[in-house]
Symmetry: C2
Subunit: 344 residues, 2 copies
Amino acid sequence: MAATLRDVAALAGVSIKTVSNVVHDFEHIRPATRERVRAAIDELGYKPNISARSLRSGRTGVIGLALPELSLSYFAELADAIIQAAERRGTSVIIEQTGGDRDREIQLLASPHRQFTDGLIFSPLGMGNDDASYLNVDYPLVLLGERIFAGPTDHVTMHNVAAAHAATRHLLATGRRRIAVIGAHQDEVIGSAGLRLRGYREALAEAGIEFDPALIAHTTLWHRANGATAMRELLATGVQFDAVFALNDTLALGAMRVLQESGRRIPLDVAVVGFDDLDESSYCLPALTTIDPGRDEIADTAVRILLERISGEAADVAPREIEAGFRLVQRESTDLVPADSPVV
Amino acid sequence: MAATLRDVAALAGVSIKTVSNVVHDFEHIRPATRERVRAAIDELGYKPNISARSLRSGRTGVIGLALPELSLSYFAELADAIIQAAERRGTSVIIEQTGGDRDREIQLLASPHRQFTDGLIFSPLGMGNDDASYLNVDYPLVLLGERIFAGPTDHVTMHNVAAAHAATRHLLATGRRRIAVIGAHQDEVIGSAGLRLRGYREALAEAGIEFDPALIAHTTLWHRANGATAMRELLATGVQFDAVFALNDTLALGAMRVLQESGRRIPLDVAVVGFDDLDESSYCLPALTTIDPGRDEIADTAVRILLERISGEAADVAPREIEAGFRLVQRESTDLVPADSPVV
DNA sequence: CGAGGCGGCTGCAACGTTGTAATTCAGGCG
DNA sequence: CGCCTGAATTACAACGTTGCAGCCGCCTCG
């Protein structure tokens, strides 16, 4: 069986508590004693028992990460970044998938898993502003995303409006005037879709271009398939457009595929901008112009402020609202010249 | 504070142990008592403390999943499937990323995290057959992938050789004769690359076609960028080919991009087959013919046999080697006719 | 009618750790 | 030379749960 403090103490000829002190780098220990204990620890291969420690101290060193699903590249890349950020700080991550379902999200906030984790990073998709009260939980919670604002917790988010504004302005700067939108949500005001659409409209207004509802394609989900379907429907209406602002990259990839199938050339006939800067967005053809929403910054900030709450450092700090910086990444899909010149 | 067994016992007027028995559906309890305890549990909102339970029982209800990185779509989709399979069986999953680094992989097998988890599903990328002895651990372990065979543990894998054989035969059946390979590993015998290359050679031999080393492009990693680079290098050599077998989909996507940039039409000039059946492979243009390696089956099997080991059901079963079924998914990238006819 | 069995329940000890308070010890100072 | 101080160490009691042994009372059977 695994060695315990007791075993190490016996071998080193000290009390159990002294071993514990050595493990925790308590300062008042004679160097000789410390050495003896260290040697015993090595010899027995002692590893602290986390269950016992957490039973005693109430901490587990594990945080939860609740997100819609890992199969959506954005969340896979976010999870990657969060796990790395947590690991840098000596913390592990349990991932729970909600499928974006409101009921599962609410359920998860009160699940027994919660007391296995010291805190939770939560990216809801089904819940809305009206559900903010569910976030009144008795454990540290950091909220991600754009579904709920003015909740009772820390919140890390992106500059959705400003970034969408920048993306749209970029399309306008390349001379496009009829910019279709893929992925809008009916009557949504907040939420990623609502906010990004607002940035789009602001940029149009700024340029003195009238908003045309016929250019807005709605989808409930933001999978590739939805981007493809939405684009197919848009083409079927016969409405004219010379650019597409897809509200995320995955939609953009689905839409681009349909555009190309239909014989349109990107960016010659239609320019396309996405949002998220997925890994694959730089490898599709043409490479996709997009918004880098500061994923690493979001991940690092979320983990940092969650651990601040857990440790109590930030005990009496009011809920914080932090927006990560964004960046427009220009690639071929909005080039002024055709992108089909050979690279080889 | 959270309610404990003691609180519930006091409220229900029974002993602490009786409450524990009710929680565990122990059979010899009078219905009246059971009801009284249930009511008290509901009233106090009692949730068992997992740390205490695991300290006492040695089980945590959490398994570890160690994989290279979530940013690689294959592993994101695998993690998705494993988390779902685990959840169906009431188990949570902690994900650890190794970056495919051998030393980190070895380290992780002995990390203190291990005693936080009841067992581990491990997908190594850096370790090789020579490292099999590191898998002699004192906790339940299920191995995934093709890096290590004949290890001392259960192993869930895919029919790499047969599937690669099928993929190659499919290309041959469409009339292709000069089939390039993207992603081979120098001198590798086992490992996904080695096995898939073997399937490729077997299919060639079967068709009486000589193996041409000039058609084999090597890459160390299997990211999009590597697929692109390898294809660029292959084109630069001037070698002629009419098909590409990319050893996974991600490589295929990178390679397709370069092929298209270079003006080659897929599948008219070059047919392409991948391996993995990623979500995105059905949405790229042209949609990618690939091998569905039975990801869900692998995930479900891995979780199932790991939990069997944990529960002790499979205590004296010899290490098992399980191969999931595969399936060739035919899409546009190997069509006999051009794929550029409009769909809209 | 008494022994035995069993359903229903309880009490106690332990899992490995850490916080608190207490104890020992060495050295400096009056 | 005794007292005080602070460094170094220890003893002990929890944390919430579960395994084990055992107790009571009722029922059954010889």
